[in-house]
């Protein structure tokens, strides 16, 4: 078993009072709580801090932890024979220290003694995982394999490795969407129900489309003459290319809506695809093109700054 220095994690002395431990935890929780903090790695840090606090804030767990002795963080150790006998834990070389103490309290508090854990029923841990999906996969629905090995925090306490699980994400998920998979969390103890898996959907950036809910935005570059004269151009959508009419006199930033060409919604219906026009000017001109632009300048009465009285 790998040693974790819960005191160091909370930044307190080994002999710290309950009040000091609580104070240190509060401070770190405010800094790293995943619902509040956007700091990189905040979630992992918060799990560490919570695990430390859950053990050190419980008198019984803290006493047992203290009696494990002191090692370097990450150092492999084995509790003494005496400790195992006293606290009724045996053969846990592969155990995570957090797991050990998460169960420790449950057994001893509820059944009044270290050895009396048999027959105690506890629902399994809920897991939370993030599934990064491509837009195409989100639109069609897809199967994802989730690696649940990272410790996961939820309604109860912290648990360690959970292995892999495969789930089917139905079509229509959007960025930030939450889904629930009943029974795919950690196994229950003593016949308790398995926990649930909560899945956060994260859409990977797409080369062309930018999603906002079920709507998609597509930047559509057009030539100045296409904007002025109008044109029919082919645009990509999630299900193939379609023809789009650009009306004469179109402007940059104008949005053209393709109804129902956004992301499908669960069940039926779909968002819309908005093509945002962007007039792009040519930078390399042939002599002939240059001459035509020169001619246009001479004969055109168009003044883009007319509404400013001609001043830029």
């Amino acid at each position: 078993m790998k040693y974790k220095d819960y005191y160091a994690i909370l930044g307190v002395e080994r002999g710290a009072s309950e009040a000091d431990i609580k104070k240190a935890y509060r401070k770190l929780a405010r800094k790293y709580h995943p619902d509040v903090s956007k700091e990189a790695g905040a979630e992992e840090k918060f799990k560490e801090v919570s695990e430390a606090y859950q053990t050190l804030s419980d008198t019984e767990k803290r006493a047992a932890y203290d009696q494990l002795g002191s090692y370097r963080p990450g150092e492999d150790f084995r509790p003494s024979q005496d400790w195992e006998t006293r606290f009724g834990r045996e053969g846990f070389e592969d155990f995570d220290l957090g797991d050990l103490f998460a169960h420790f309290g449950g057994y001893s508090r509820r059944s009044g003694g270290a050895h009396a854990g048999r027959g105690f029923k506890m629902p399994g841990q809920d897991y939370e995982a993030t599934a990064p999906l491509t837009l195409e996969d989100a639109a069609r629905g897809t199967e994802v394999e989730l690696n649940l090995s990272a410790p996961s925090m939820s309604a109860g306490s912290m648990r360690g490795s959970a292995g892999k699980t495969r789930v089917r994400v139905p079509k229509g998920a959007v960025d930030g969407q939450r889904l629930r998979v009943p029974g795919k969390g950690g196994p229950g103890v003593g016949g308790g129900l398995a926990g649930d898996l909560y899945l956060n959907i994260k859409l990977r950036p797409h080369a062309l489309f930018r999603p906002a809910g079920h709507d998609l935005y597509l930047e559509l570059p057009i030539a100045p003459w296409e904007a002025v004269l109008g044109a029919q151009i082919e645009v990509p959508t999630l299900d193939g290319r379609v023809n789009l009419n650009i009306r004469p006199g179109s402007r940059s930033g104008q949005k053209l809506r393709l109804t129902g060409k956004g992301l499908p919604k669960p069940g039926s219906g779909a968002g819309d695809l908005y093509c945002v026009l962007q007039i792009v000017t040519p930078t390399k001109l042939s002599d002939r093109e240059k001459a035509l632009y020169e001619e246009l300048r001479k004969i055109s009465a168009f003044d883009p700054r007319a509404d400013r009285g001609g001043a830029a």
């Binding site: 619902d35 109860g156 789930v167 939450r178 629930r180 935005y217 930047e219 669960p266």
Partner: protein, 102 residues
């Protein structure tokens, strides 16, 4: 390895109070208090309260905050209101970013 279907936690699915307590880890009393504060707006169906499945996300968030900061329902309701507001603003920001030209 078997494959399971997921359920969207959205406004189209409704769940009962006991399912919400079980899914969130909050006590029934706490959920009822949060309803009084307007954090959750359940539908009344006969004598039961029906919550949209989206409430599970918020109730779990409430349970996490409550555990970490020892908040009472007042403080919890306030924190959740602010977090909602931040999420709404972030969504608006994302939408505006989508419309901006690169």
């Amino acid at each position: 390895m078997t494959s399971t279907s997921l359920y969207f936690l959205d406004d189209d699915t409704y769940i009962a109070l006991d399912e919400l307590t079980q899914a969130s880890g909050l006590e029934e009393r706490q959920i009822v208090e949060l309803v009084e504060f307007g954090v959750f707006e359940p539908r009344h169906h006969a004598n039961d309260l029906l919550f949209s499945a989206r409430c599970i996300v918020k109730a779990r968030q409430a349970a996490r905050l409550q555990r970490a900061f020892d908040l009472d329902s007042n403080g919890l309701a306030l924190a959740l209101t602010y977090l909602d507001r931040i999420e709404m603003l972030e969504q608006q920001l994302r939408k505006l970013e989508c419309q901006l030209l690169r």
